[in-house]
Symmetry: C2
Subunit: 345 residues, 2 copies
């Protein structure tokens, strides 16, 4: 394996949960200069936060390596309402909601990906053209038992919670997207593993080289306990003011900092390991590292200027104090404005 | 209930296994002059025999009562290969096979139904027009658990025999046919009960008055034991020479004769009961009744002339004998030519 591919592999696999199968990824990297990377998103969540940014960040890394990112908006699949990871049927979205959400989504994605180098697709482009016979042909590629294996389906079947037949179609549609796109790689959260593997399976049955699937972990929220989620209030929204986001990142624990470095920073697993060593050996200060992390994240997802300003504002608040005391102060996630710290100190 | 409706009800329900729900049938008969009667057939069995004629005969009775028969050829569904009552997936048919089978089917159906009064439809007329979104909408009307209840699906799930997702679509397609046709009644064999009920369910979810379902029993073959089937050799083919068919019918047991009277003769259940009484009271002779049955069946499914000729040929073989001896002679199903009896006697 060449040094270039070795380095690329390290970047690609850092922070991932699963690369399946890794040997296929190596082979694809060796034989193709530009891989086609698929990332699908339901236009159902218009407010992106750093949790969503984990996958987007990995896509950006792949983009920086020269690969072709396809940001696929599941406008057609959104008509179903994917039940993945949910215990009940979701109501389908209207055409207007889909269009509006998709635009909001894209505006925010532009903070992470270079949209000029990103191909945006809508799966209605091919799914709307399928006839009933095509759908049947697609259905014939998979058994009921295979679909019933999906964790949430299995759970619902066990609990006798009804599963609409249309919900079973979802993995088939998502999988068919990979066929339509001839995807080399598909990325998703760990909750998407089954659907991603379905793409692999369908590509094989349609006579294509199957895609490699890469899953990313769910990012812990600012509390370090639960996954980042708007409903838990432990999030950093990509639409927030940079100062607020910077302050929130500074509020996380040292332990969580390593996780954020791995999933949102510019560091590979081995580089994060080196940083940890630095702290143990007291050659690096955690507060400095956290500032660097916050700066890096704001620079990447907002802008260099905003990162500079946010850092200056934060430092101004702490300029009379030494960092060892300041790092004990945690910002509660509900209060993004760091000015209240001044009152406390 | 008027006398006309009472009489119609007796004719319609005689020999059926199930009329569900009977009160809906009464209501439909009271409010509509001409009911739309759906009968669906896969163009997969080009050699019809008397077993198939049971349902066709019931359709003819309905036709004689003035109702509108729709003979639906499942040219689109045939692409799936319905697994109903089978333990494994059937291979789908090609377009050429479907067209050829459908024509052969219709040629034979003309022996039972008045084709001039029968509307022949192909379900590709509406199924081919459905988009993926329409299919999803259709799928949303039913749960996986509901479909998994179908006896053969349940059995295969239990045995862990794979069920293709496309096979689960079959009842939905057949059910949607009822929606497209606005069927008042659908007829089928008992093995079709689930699919017929699906039509009822889907019509309701699509805001239509649900169809009444009428199921007919499987006809026992000449051996009186197994269902009539080409593969068991216990059949009377609708394409056979009338003399051969007449002789085969004469070969059945007295017990089986009542069954054939009910399912293929012109008699209602109460009329068959009267005939039975006649035999018990020795006012009627079983051999005469069997000749009448054979004559009636040949007249109906072949022609009056052929019935006459077949009867004469049969009588010529027995003219020197009294019937009490002759009725002991059974024709083995493999030997349709009654001439061999002469050699035996």
């Amino acid at each position: 394996m060449s040094q270039d591919i070795k380095k690329a592999l390290e970047i690609i696999t850092s922070g991932t949960v699963q690369v399946t199968p890794c040997e296929d990824l190596v082979k694809k990297l060796q034989t193709k200069k530009h891989l086609t990377i698929k990332f699908g998103a339901d236009p159902t969540a218009p407010d992106l936060h750093l949790g969503h940014a984990v996958v987007l960040h990995k896509l950006r890394q792949l983009q920086n390596l020269g690969h072709k990112i396809i940001f696929l908006i599941g406008d057609y699949t959104a008509r179903i309402g994917d039940p993945t990871g949910r215990s009940k049927t979701r109501p389908p979205l209207s055409g207007e909601e889909i269009a509006s959400n998709a635009q909001t989504y894209l505006n925010q994605v532009g903070k992470v990906l270079d949209l000029e180098q990103t191909k945006v697709c809508y799966n209605s482009e091919w799914l709307a053209k399928l006839s009933f016979a095509d759908v049947i042909h697609l259905c014939s590629k998979v058994t009921v038992a295979q679909l019933a294996e999906r964790e949430d389906f299995a759970q619902r079947l066990k609990e006798k919670t009804p599963i609409g037949m249309h919900e079973m179609m979802y993995p088939l549609m998502q999988g068919y997207d990979s066929v339509a796109l001839h995807a080399d790689v598909e990325l998703g959260g760990t909750d998407q593993t089954f659907n991603l593997l379905m793409g692999r399976h369908l590509q094989e049955t349609y006579g294509q080289e199957p895609q490699v699937i890469i899953t990313l972990p769910l990012l812990e929220g600012l509390d370090g306990v639960r996954k980042m989620s708007k409903s838990y209030g432990n999030y950093v929204g990509l639409w927030e003011a940079a100062e607020s986001a910077y302050g929130k990142i500074m509020s996380i624990s040292d332990e969580l900092m390593w996780r954020y470095y791995l999933l949102l920073g510019e560091k590979t697993a081995s580089e994060v390991q080196e940083l940890k060593q630095g702290v143990v050996q007291q050659t690096l200060h955690p507060m400095e590292l956290k500032k660097t992390l916050a700066f890096t994240i704001i620079k990447r997802f907002w802008s260099a200027d905003e990162a500079q300003n946010a850092q200056q504002q934060f430092e101004a608040l702490f300029q009379q104090r030494d960092y060892s005391a300041a790092q004990e102060v945690l910002l509660p996630p509900e209060t993004p404005n760091p000015l209240w710290i001044v009152e406390l100190l």
